[in-house]
């Protein structure tokens, strides 16, 4: 099968899966208990008010009719408006998405790069004190409880030492005084440091361990022995022959991590008050804000599906033995 044919087939598959997910999401939310107004526990809201609100939200119509309207709107690029914010879902997502992408993509890429380099070093020095140190540190990072670690960083670096701000994405005091753009950019970077470090350390562990075990597997391969027999230097064998092949599983993992970074580490976003998609998703689900929650899940589904396709294609690029 040619690559083009493979891509075409994959796109068809992805489209079908996407619509199955869309349909499932739509009905799952409507089957879940409660309604968007059930949380308005306000005795001032009379029965007539509740009926009026339900009618205005379009929830008085049969579920199938709502589904048809939803599909029609979906194809015209209208994801509806949030029950709680009253704003178009697409504009809410567009406002939150860049923050999530910025933080999570950067942390994933940095952690993957550091994980590959350190994993390589660790495997190359298997059994040494350095290997032990790196492996144990990686295990600790991998098993860290995110909110605890995030709060610890905030407590020490933000509160006790006062080096970093206590959450948020910017210092309002600087922004309301009309500071220059470079200063504002530095301010955002300053705020991003602690959440970035939290996610970096959390991801670093798994990438390092993955790279290390993959490298150890590769060392036993015939082509490494051949490379040695050819008289190549250790550095070339390690970097060009072993590491390049061993990095494939890490690449898959990074691809999927990037995709899942859309829903963000909701906990990290919550602790650092990072205004990303993760916090929004949790809020939307717990408040039965159907349009917003559906759109967030659809976005995750779409990104995961596309990321899978890209990883498949990258495999073929990285490993010439794989063809489609």
């Amino acid at each position: 099968m040619g690559t083009r044919k493979f891509i075409f087939k994959k796109i068809i598959e992805i489209t079908i899966i996407f619509f199955v997910i869309l349909t499932l999401l739509f009905f799952l939310f409507r089957l879940s208990p409660g309604s968007p107004i059930s949380k308005m526990v306000d005795p001032g809201l009379t029965l007539e008010d509740q009926v009026l609100l339900i009618e205005q939200l379009g929830l008085d119509r049969p579920a199938f009719e709502q589904y048809i309207i939803y599909l029609k709107n979906f194809f015209t690029g209208n994801l509806g408006s949030s029950f709680h914010y009253g704003e178009a879902v697409s504009s809410i997502i567009m406002a939150k998405l860049p923050w999530t992408i910025l933080l999570f993509s950067l942390s994933t890429i940095l952690a993957a790069y550091a994980g590959i380099v350190l994993g390589k070093i660790s495997a190359w020095n298997k059994g040494s004190a350095l290997d032990n140190f790196l492996s144990i540190s990686a295990l600790i990072c991998h098993t860290l409880f995110i909110p605890w670690f995030a709060l610890l960083l905030l407590w020490v670096l933000g509160f006790k030492l006062g080096w970093f701000p206590l959450g948020g994405v910017l210092s309002p005091e600087i922004w309301i005084t009309g500071s220059s753009i470079p200063l504002k950019i530095l301010d955002v970077l300053h705020h991003m440091f602690l959440p970035l470090m939290t996610l970096f350390f959390i991801h670093l562990g798994s990438y390092l361990l993955l790279m290390r075990s993959s490298m150890l597997g590769v060392f036993k391969e015939d082509y490494i022995i051949t490379a040695r027999a050819k008289g190549l230097s250790e550095k070339v064998i390690r970097n060009k022959h072993a590491a390049k092949n061993a990095a494939l599983p890490v690449l898959t993992s990074v691809g999927l991590s990037l995709a899942f970074s859309i829903n963000g580490g909701a906990l990290t976003e919550q602790v650092f008050t990072w205004p990303g998609i993760g916090r929004e998703l949790i809020f939307a689900v717990s408040n039965n804000d159907y349009p917003l929650a559906q759109a967030c899940f659809l976005l995750i589904a779409a990104v995961v599906l596309v990321a899978n396709l890209i990883v498949d294609l990258l495999y073929a690029y990285m490993d010439p033995r794989i063809t489609y």
């Binding site: 009253g86 080096w163 005091e173 600087i174 300053h190």
Partner: protein, 581 residues
């Protein structure tokens, strides 16, 4: 070993160097910012637990939106923070009631909107038309008692009522006034929309126009909300409710904190001057040790209660409900679960609401020892014809584990469930459920407490109405006790209705309808007290506790917070709080 150390290749070293540089640059940025931050003395910084959902008055009904909007949109009358009496706010004086004509004449203050235009009778007329045209939830249902609204002159308005109304002042004239300038055009567009109310709610409000002490200056979503002093605020320099009103701060900066832990750190660090949220008692000891923090503890107008499904057996039996009310040890709940930060409740109207609260109702289990709770509860059941396989009190008067409780009909009591919110939503209610389960088991009741997600719980109790008993609460009850009507009047015993227990009592219904029309407070109080007495005799709800509200402020820069029922976080505090120097 040396060779292995050399193996830290260039990649590894360069990675380390890059990270070190990054850390240093960002650290220096921090130091630079710390030097840069010139504290504006009259800038009050307040922490919020969540972002306001909307600045559209008709959609922003969550507590955080309300906090912001309450500083912008004002009503004709409000409550005195100390006496809780209704006092004129946008109105100039007390309304004049004409019994014969059923009219209230209200004189308006010389007030201005934040854009400098006059607030006049026209705006009140517009507000009324707006409520009626769009059937605005929460307001229309109360305003529909108005038959006609008449503007005598620019600052005098007459409300003609359909019938006498007890809640006219406290629930109708406390509605926010809106300006034609802000909403007129939107209203015209909304009326032509397929769903007018939805159109109205979805309309984005960038610059709300109000008459309050502050106006919105800038809202950066996800980051902060900046409000500035309204130079046209009608209260500035006036003494209202014995407070000389400011505002004395130039602006307020609202910052969002995702967790209470971080907000408390920010308060201690001085990043914020106040955290506008109810703090959990667990933080108190730590906060009290800080010399720059002041903690405020105030009563809440709240009700946390256990409700029964009185529509079906066995809870249709009053004696069973009374027995359960007796077995509950409210002092235990107060000391162990609320850690003494609250008050036990014996009536549906909270005790902090001094005027309407009836202290003379039947106070189940008050002052009893743990053993006496069981003995008393046992006695009530036994007198009502309940029997046991093993009675919980033996012939010697000693308490043993009761087993096999049988209803007066001789039928063994079926297993039943107390639904509670989950511990992560509200640990107090969840733990109270578990304790009540244990006490009820001692008397032989086959009960289990089951935590359920809040949405499901409301759906089960209010929508499907398929339940035995539940524990719920209202964190902020209106100070007017008219809620006693929707909570227990048989007319509200419908799916999604507020009478969740399904309580039906014609005598109570009559009183509930009657109180609605009594304008004279003292007369109405008699009826409200009688209603509380009936409720505590029939116990469709067992009032459990009313937690205190705990709030904390930094004392470094500001002083003068006003304490009131429901805490210091209010327009009153923000109108009088002053910089220290």
């Amino acid at each position: 070993m040396l060779t292995k150390a050399k193996n830290l290749n260039r990649n590894g070293r360069s990675l380390l160097i890059v990270f070190l540089h990054m850390f240093l640059v960002i650290l220096m940025t921090g130091v630079f910012f710390s030097c840069q931050k010139k504290e504006e003395v009259k800038l009050l910084k307040i922490g919020l637990p969540e972002e306001p959902k909307s600045l559209n008055l008709w959609l922003g009904t969550d507590s955080n939106s309300r906090k912001i909007l309450s500083l912008i949109y004002q009503s004709l009358y409000t409550r005195d923070p100390k006496t809780l009496e209704m006092i004129p706010w946008l109105a100039k004086e007390e309304p004049v009631f004409d019994k014969e004509k059923l009219t209230y004449t209200v004189k308006l203050r010389q007030a201005k909107w934040s854009d400098g235009s006059e607030f006049t009778s026209e705006d009140v007329l517009f507000t009324k038309k707006f409520f009626f045209d769009f059937k605005i939830p929460r307001y229309y249902s109360k305003w529909k008692i108005i038959k006609k609204l008449e503007a005598i002159d620019e600052h005098t308005i007459v409300f003609h009522l359909q019938a006498p109304s007890a809640i006219f002042l406290s629930r109708v004239l406390t509605a926010p006034m809106v300006s034609k300038k802000e909403w007129g055009q939107i209203a015209v567009e909304a009326m032509n929309a397929e769903k007018p109310l939805k159109f109205l709610q979805d309309h984005s409000i960038e610059n709300p126009l109000g008459t309050g002490p502050f106006t919105l200056f800038e809202y950066k979503k996800g980051a902060y909300l900046h409000m500035k002093k309204n130079s046209h605020f009608f209260g500035t320099g006036k003494t209202i409710a014995n407070h000389l009103l400011g505002p004395y701060v130039d602006s307020i900066l609202f910052k969002i904190y995702g967790t209470s832990d971080v907000a408390i750190l920010a308060l201690k660090k001085g990043d914020i001057d106040m955290y506008w949220w109810d703090i959990q008692p667990g933080y108190l000891e730590d906060l009290k040790k800080d010399p720059n923090i002041e903690v405020f503890l105030n009563k809440k107008s709240a009700l946390y209660y256990m409700g029964f499904n009185v529509r079906k057996p066995p809870f249709d039996d009053k004696a069973l409900r009374q027995s359960i009310a007796t077995i509950i040890d409210k002092d235990f709940i107060l000391t162990r679960i609320l850690q003494n930060y609250g008050t036990p409740m014996y009536s549906i109207v909270p005790s902090g609401n001094v005027f309407w609260h009836n202290p003379n109702v039947r106070r189940y289990g008050e002052g009893l020892t743990p053993e006496d709770h069981i003995k008393e509860a046992y006695k009530i059941l036994k007198d009502a014809g309940y029997t046991w396989e093993t009675e919980p009190v033996d012939d010697n008067g000693d308490i043993v584990e009761g087993k096999g409780l049988k209803l007066p009909s001789g039928k063994v009591m079926d297993k039943f469930v107390i639904l509670t919110p989950p511990a992560d939503y509200d640990p107090k209610r969840a733990f109270a459920g578990v304790m009540i389960q244990e006490w009820m088991r001692k008397i032989g009741m086959p009960v289990s407490a089951r935590p359920m997600s809040f949405n499901s719980l409301l759906d089960t109790v209010k929508g499907k109405r398929e339940f035995d008993a539940f524990i719920l609460g209202y964190g902020k009850l209106n100070l007017d006790p008219d809620y006693l009507r929707p909570f227990f009047h048989s007319g509200y015993n419908k799916p999604r209705g507020w009478n969740m227990s399904g309580y039906t009592n014609p005598v109570y219904d009559k009183l509930a309808n009657e109180q609605k029309g009594i304008v004279e407070s003292k007369e109405r109080k008699k009826v409200i007290w009688e209603m509380q007495q009936i409720l505590m005799e029939d116990v469709p709800y067992i009032p459990l506790y009313n937690p205190h509200i705990l709030e904390a402020v930094s004392t470094k820069n500001f002083k003068g917070w006003i304490e009131k029922v429901n805490g210091i976080g209010s327009i009153w505090s923000l109108c009088v709080v002053k910089p220290k120097n």
